[in-house]
């Protein structure tokens, strides 16, 4: 499968998962945004469809990490994994095109486009 497309699906999946999380947060609901339950179920379904579009192995890693950490992806900032705040080995930093996991915490790493 096309690596770019996989990355795009993975990122959107992660954003949607955070969206779903926020919807369920009482603090969010208290602010006063109305969320229709039917729409929420539809979003969950879309999220699962997106998961199926990922290569099977990656989908499994993602779900495992989500269960463990809640957020399966961690951005990289100044060479640090923002999931566990450990510095990443320099040889990893040149491989930002591939899907790589943090050698310390296992989260999928995300390099921001500069």
């Amino acid at each position: 499968m096309n690596e770019d497309l996989t990355q795009a699906h993975l990122k959107l999946l992660f954003d949607l998962d955070n969206l779903i999380d926020d919807m369920e947060e009482p603090k969010y609901q208290k602010i006063g945004f109305k969320v229709e339950n039917e729409a929420r179920l539809l979003l969950l379904r879309k999220r699962n469809d997106l998961l199926k579009k990922l290569p099977k192995e990656l989908a499994e890693i993602y779900e495992r990490l989500k269960k463990r950490y809640h957020q399966a992806i961690a951005p990289v900032e100044n060479g640090f994994c923002l999931g566990c705040f450990q510095q990443l080995p320099t040889q990893l930093l040149t491989r930002s095109q591939e899907i790589i996991t943090c050698p310390n915490c296992g989260r999928i790493l995300y390099w921001r486009k500069k």
């Binding site: 990122k11 992660f14 954003d15 969206l19 602010i31 109305k34 539809l42 979003l43 957020q71 992806i73």
Partner: protein, 155 residues
Amino acid sequence: MNLSSLLSKKRINLSLKPGKKEAVIRELVYSIKKGEDAELIISTLLKREELGSTGIGKGIAIPHCRSLAVEKLEIAVGRTLKPINFKSIDKKPVSLIFLIIAPPQDPGNQYLITLGKIVQIAKEITKKNLIQKPKTPEEFISLINDLEKGLKRRK
């Protein structure tokens, strides 16, 4: 954290071209990010809108989401030259839009706090009928600053 300090003149457009909800969101997002990052944000924002419009009524909408594409909380503001259809809860068209994007990792819950604050400010703006008042981004920021001070005093 003051709301007004999160605003930047470059990201306040008080003469936004009216158009479809999606096009207006797109234009505001592109004042924050470009290309792939912007497209990710737009996809997520539109998914959020499908859950129920963020048009909170009385002419104001507050589209928002978290996204991997930003490294800190970002706000863009747009006022359309003519009110647009935002499928708001009160079915009224919208002319003032606060767009908020927060990073996924958000220690201290800055995202929800800011979102709550913007909703409060938005209510003040409609109550006092101030949507059309600021003529420049500078005036807009100082209006928000004043409203924020007013809310603080009342607490």
